[in-house]
Amino acid sequence: MHVNDLERVARQIRHRDLQAVFEAGAGHIGGEMSAIDILTALYFNVLRIWPDQPKHPERDRFVLSKGHVALAFYVTLAKRGFFPEEEISTFLKPLSRLNGHPNCTKIPGVETNTGPLGHGLPVAVGMAKAAKLTGAAYHTYVLTGDGEMQEGSNWEAIPAAAQFGLNNLTLIIDHNRFQQGASLAETNNLAPFRPKLEAFGWEVTEINGNAMSEIVPALQKRGPRPQAIVAHTNKGHGISFMQDTVDWHHKVPNAEQYKIALAELSEGL
């Protein structure tokens, strides 16, 4: 899929995500909007996957470590054919399998259960290590939030990936500069990420994480070392009044805001 088509798919996913947040009255819309371009690039261009065979042994692995943006993940998976798109309307409804964090025992395409932060990267290290041990050709991707990198478990996994020589692993940090309660800078500022990751033996690429033309090649990049992508994104990307503010971590738009946001996201669907 070409960049223009990917951008259109990303707009469609944003549109459906916004609708679902409004209908469910919940979601993590800010972080969903920042990550959707990355999810789109992965699922509609980069990942080698078979939606009708979600456990295919040669599938590329993707771990959504920032599990709270499950809705964006669900919309992406459904659009890619892992389960029916109509099911998105059950998001957060009683007994729906689409709860606030993804469950791999119920949803095809989900590899491991996430939600508590700092879990995805260690699991992804294990997946990549397994490929090294078995000679499997799959590549493992993991998407974390920038605030999430404050979890110590990530810093157990980062040197392990280098030690194990996991050049079949790509960490994407959704660097939208805001965590739940405040900006990263005001909380526990890990930025800049590049020197820290490089010091641990990773190769680092910095991109505009909302620009498809930069995302795709970064995801395809390979080298002798584990790959990290510091994806500079905007929280709430695509919806003017949500962008770059801490307010929209998990706030739900009111009817008027919803109308404005929907109109903005409806352009070029």
Partner: protein
């Protein structure tokens, strides 16, 4: 008994039984990998490492990563045995065990080494007397504490064949052989090691042989105690517990664990709902243990065979007299 000469039984370190089976499984199945946190020595993985250096995944001193990596290796089609001191494996990485292993239903075998108070004088930071409680509340996760090298080997064999997560709780304290060679491990099934009608003594791990000794002491006084070895804390053998309550009218449990939330608590949950009888739970009574070896501390907390026998007699006295 006649002229039988009593000799001290030979004691075995269950870790040796674990690694012997692991190395055999490793030879049969290239998917078997061992994962550890710098614990090659204490987990007795030296032999495995010598045979298959690549398949020994040492993440260093990093237990959250240890358990997460285990889940990822299983996702990649391998059969990981994740080995670490039980106190760190369960306590340090509890949330990884919950989310990455149990909730994700990952095919990972968690092997808690040197469980209970095996680290003795190193103190409560290194004791693992909370692990039954922490592990048994997690869905999908069988919790198993074998009583000797034979049951250890059988449980490891079973765990490798089972599709899904398992927590094996092994000791480093020497234990005598109690089960017959060739014993086949059946999860959720207790073994009756001695029959009796006055009371049932239930334990697992390092306590089973102490219960058998207590039963010998009771027998010398004409009191016949039934002894159940209940290696599986979850799923629990509720049927055996109910039958024991009905047949003997009193239950005494003992475990190298806190009296809060462990085997005794699990048994009490069944007894109180299905067959209420007088019951007593022996273990570490909700305190941080003082300095001492594991054997010393078990004695200290009322789990020397003689003390167990005395507690049993007091419990028998509480049984309602039959009309």
């Amino acid at each position: 008994m006649g002229a039988t000469v009593m000799t001290a039984p030979k004691l075995h370190d269950c870790r040796d039984a674990f690694t012997a089976v692991l190395e055999r499984l490793g030879a049969e199945n290239p998917k078997v990998v061992a994962v550890c946190n710098d614990s090659v020595g204490s987990s007795k993985l030296g032999g495995f490492k010598a045979k298959w250096p690549d398949r020994l995944v040492n993440v260093g001193i990093a237990e959250q990563n240890l358990v997460g990596v285990g889940a990822g290796l299983a996702n990649g089609g391998l059969l990981p045995f994740v080995c670490a001191a039980a106190c760190f494996l369960t306590g340090r990485s509890l949330e990884q065990v919950k989310a990455d292993i149990a909730y994700s239903n990952a095919n990972v075998k968690l092997v808690g080494i040197s469980s209970g108070m095996a680290y003795g004088e190193l103190g409560p930071t290194h004791h693992s007397i909370e692990d039954f409680a922490w592990m048994r509340v997690l869905p999908n996760l069988p919790v198993i504490a074998p009583c000797d090298r034979i049951e250890t080997a059988a449980a490891v064999e079973w765990a490798a064949a089972y599709q899904g997560p398992v927590f094996l709780r092994l000791s480093r304290v020497g234990m005598p052989d109690l089960l017959p060679e060739g014993h086949v491990f059946v999860p959720g099934k207790a073994n009756t090691l001695r029959d009796g009608d006055a009371i049932t003594l239930i334990g697992n791990g390092t306590l089973t042989h102490r219960l058998l000794k207590a039963a010998d002491l009771l027998a010398a006084e004409g009191i016949e105690a039934k002894v159940l070895n209940m290696a599986t804390v979850r799923p629990l053998d509720a049927e055996a517990i109910v039958a024991a309550a009905r047949d003997t009218g009193a239950i005494l449990t003992a475990e190298e664990h806190s009296t809060f939330g462990g085997l005794g608590s699990a048994i009490a949950e069944v007894v109180v709902a299905e067959a209420p009888v007088p019951m007593k739970i022996l273990g570490v009574p909700g305190v941080f243990a003082p300095t001492g070896s594991a054997e010393f501390l078990l004695d200290h907390f009322g789990m020397a065979p003689q003390a167990i026998a005395e507690t049993a007699k007091a419990l028998i006295a509480r049984k309602p007299s039959r009309v």
